[in-house]
């Protein structure tokens, strides 16, 4: 294990050195590739777009942390993202994209409907894993495949094609005075409501996990369910709660993906496109720490934002080749970090002694 820590330290050092080198080269030669890269990376619009792109990954990763910490590996995060991304758009579209109901924008009803759909799918996953002792990996794959089939199916039933029409996205929340500050105003204080939710959710998740008795139960349920059981806490109930929480969080992520970025439409398989799996890598890389997961997600999303910028900048590299950068990064990171120490009882069914 120390071996891995050394690798991780070296990796971080190497990354820092690379960044430093790019910054120096970019400052010295503004017209070089490094210069272009530097100005692209640090431009306020790239950073704010990276924040927006990291929202779905961060929420799915937070959900994955709770589930896996409690002992249930939820590999179906991708499916949860897909279902809420779709339902969010479909419900908003049905209610009327620009209208309001009870003085609340319909887009918010769509958002919560997406969260609800994801939570219900997570409930199904929880019942199958906890009640019927299904293999968690296979059940997680099933959740992914069900959502992968159901969303385009439903879109085709409703709209006659696997994509939905665009319903628009949340208007930015602009914080008075602060949004006027140079750079930070653009990046932090004039952003989509989903970005603010994320900035609240990350510390909150850390607090719940590490400073509350529920968090302690979740961790015990994944590390030593027997002890938790002996202490008189119902392991199944803790795991149910944790998996449902992963449904709620991934639901926020999925709905934020369609209703917080782009044009607010759902495009068959292309919308979610592996973000759920990237989220898993993000929390593994972040070692189950919500802040670490946020950092890793931000890095992946940053690569994605940069990738989009590079395409616009037109460096003559084929677009699809640039698109592979985030995926390759995931593989490299995973290979260098390897399997972090998973919770002791993760993946195992727990049968309470008493019937």
């Amino acid at each position: 294990m120390t071996d891995r820590q050394t690798v991780r330290r070296w990796l971080s050092g190497l990354a820092l050195a690379l960044v430093a080198l790019t910054v120096v080269a970019g400052l010295a030669f503004p017209d070089s590739i490094a210069g272009t890269l530097l100005s692209l990376t640090t431009s306020g619009s790239t950073v704010s777009s990276a924040l927006r792109l990291s929202v779905p990954i961060v929420f799915a990763a937070l959900g994955g942390i709770f589930a896996e910490k409690s002992g249930v590996i939820n590999i179906g995060l991708e499916g949860l993202l897909i279902i809420s991304a779709f339902v969010g758009v479909a419900v908003t579209e049905t209610l009327g994209p620009n209208g309001t109901t009870f003085a609340v924008g319909n887009i918010w009803f769509g958002f919560f409907a997406g969260v609800l759909a994801s939570t219900l799918l997570a409930l199904l996953f929880a019942v199958v894993c906890i009640e019927f002792r299904a293999d968690q990996i296979i059940a997680g794959l099933a959740v992914w495949l069900i959502a992968l089939g159901l969303a385009p199916f439903a879109a085709k039933v409703l709209y006659g094609r696997p994509n939905t029409p665009g319903v628009g996205i949340f208007a930015n929340w602009s914080i008075p005075v602060l949004s006027g500050t140079p750079y930070f105003g653009e990046v932090l204080f004039d952003a989509s409501p989903t970005v603010f939710m994320m900035l609240v959710a990350v510390p909150l998740a850390w607090y719940v996990l590490n400073r509350t008795s529920f968090g302690a139960w979740v961790r015990a349920s994944g590390e030593n369910p027997k002890a938790l059981d002996t202490a008189g806490v119902n392991v199944s109930r803790v795991r149910y709660t944790a998996v449902l929480l992963s449904g709620v969080l991934s639901g926020i992520g999925g709905a934020a993906l369609t209703l917080g970025t782009g044009t607010g439409n759902f495009v068959g398989g292309a919308t979610v496109n592996g973000r759920g799996f990237i989220a898993i890598v993000a929390y593994l890389f972040g070692n189950y720490n919500p802040f670490g997961a946020f950092g890793a997600s931000f890095m992946f999303a940053g690569l994605n934002a940069l990738q989009l910028r590079l395409q616009q900048a037109g460096l003559g590299v084929p677009e699809r080749l640039i698109q592979t950068i985030p995926y390759v990064t995931v593989i490299v990171v995973l290979a260098l970090v390897g399997r972090t120490r998973t919770p002791e009882a993760a993946g195992d069914h727990y049968e309470s002694g008493e019937e």
Partner: protein, 411 residues
């Protein structure tokens, strides 16, 4: 009797004991998926808009006056009959050809997933291995074809070479996540999924930048000359199916079964899957076994890709259907048994061809097949549910089942 033989006997008994139960569970999962699928069809039919409600057994279907546009029973009837067309009058009609085409392709991808599963690995990357195998095979045959005599002799050279190269590239591409798993402990579920995205993008760039067919609107390679493809043996040309491919798939299924059950390598693979610690203690080189397993798995996927190119498309074209993902379902439904794979593949062949017939008949979108695929996996993953049901209605012995991962023998 050596220790190894004794171990083999124990394993064989275990497999025999559970094989009937697995079969029953697969059937029950299938039945339950059909029922849940019918409910989904009803709900979808209620949400869809249509001028007149569908009728089931002569009764128009409505809920609170709202028409239901699809008749679930009719959907399944069309699905099943549509998969075979007018099979009595013309056994080699196009519907049968499409069903068997999908069946043979799924035999390859199903075997690909099964061999990895049996050694305790989740190869979700069959799709990517298939994509690269297909591309490599197409390019090789395009290169070979001008140098061999056109006709049967040329086919006898070009087709096997294409299949071999497809298998080799698929295998090598599968061995990469295998090596990452073996030496860096990188979770193969995640890496293989990422490698799928990478393969699709790489193939796209390779074709669009370097091998694009001139004058084509679609991103694809040049067409392979007709003689260098898999001949439509027994079926009309243009049907996209050849009994030769199905025969190859069946032969490979038997071959894989023999490899797993009757050879030392197979024994190593299976024990690594079932009891990794015991296998290592027994002298199995775990790293090499993981890589070998992923190579074999990827090779099956690559051969599937080669068959897709040489039998169905005649060129490499982007937008390959999700044969690799369907292979996961096929393998899980078959209990990861190579001999069960062709049966499960036939079932999904029917589902594919039948769901297209259903959509063609103006009913439910063919994406229904994707939903059923997920449901089947979900239900196969929860054997305990069916055991509980069985005990409730006192069917079978009703012994409490172990909390075993029945879908994949992995841990």
């Amino acid at each position: 009797m050596s220790a190894r033989d004794r171990g083999r006997a124990v394993l064989a008994r275990l497999v025999d004991a559970s094989i009937v139960e697995r079969f029953v569970i697969s059937l029950a999962a299938l039945a339950l998926s059909i029922v849940v699928g019918a409910v989904i069809v009803l709900v979808a039919g209620w949400s869809a808009t249509c001028s007149a409600p569908a009728t089931s057994f002569g009764v128009p279907l409505t809920v609170f006056g709202d028409p239901i546009c699809y008749d679930p029973v009719g959907v399944y009837v069309t699905l099943f009959t549509g998969a075979f067309g007018n099979v009595l009058a013309r056994p080699t009609n196009f519907n049968v050809a499409l069903t068997l085409q999908e069946t043979s392709l799924l035999v390859f991808t199903g075997l690909s997933v099964a061999v990895a599963f049996r050694s305790g690995l989740f190869n979700i990357g069959t799709q990517g291995q298939l994509v690269l195998g297909a591309l490599a095979s197409a390019l090789t045959v395009l290169g070979v074809a001008p140098h061999v005599p056109a006709g049967i002799v040329g086919a006898a050279i070009a087709v096997p070479v294409g299949l071999l190269v497809g298998g080799l590239f698929g295998g090598l591409y599968g061995a990469i996540p295998g090596a990452l798993k073996a030496y860096a402990d990188a979770n193969e579920v995640i890496t293989t999924i990422m490698f799928n995205f990478v393969a699709t993008n790489l193939a796209f760039v390779a074709v669009s930048e370097y091998f694009q067919a001139s004058g084509s609107q679609v991103v694809q390679t040049e067409k392979i000359p007709a003689f260098a493809r898999i001949q439509p043996f027994g079926f009309p040309s243009g049907s996209g199916f050849s009994l030769l491919a199905l025969a190859l798939g069946l032969a490979l299924a038997v071959g894989l079964w023999l490899l797993l059950e009757r050879t030392a390598l197979g024994y190593d693979l299976r024990t690594t899957g079932a009891q990794p610690k015991a296998a290592e203690y027994g002298g199995v080189n775990a790293e090499r076994t993981v890589i070998t397993s992923m190579f074999v798995s990827g090779a099956f996927g690559g051969i599937g890709g080669a068959v897709w190119v040489l039998m169905v498309m005649g060129s490499y074209q982007i937008g390959i259907p999700s044969l690799g993902f369907d292979g996961i379902t096929v393998s899980i439904l078959a209990g990861n048994n190579p001999l069960g794979v062709p049966v499960a593949a036939l079932l999904f062949g029917i589902l594919k061809s039948g769901s297209l017939a259903v959509e063609f008949a103006g009913s439910v979108p063919h994406e229904l097949a994707g939903v059923l695929r997920g449901l089947i996996i979900l239900f196969v993953a929860m054997p305990e549910f069916f055991r509980l049901l069985g005990r409730r209605f006192s069917l079978g012995e009703g012994k409490p089942g172990p909390a075993a991962p029945t879908g994949g023998e992995s841990e």
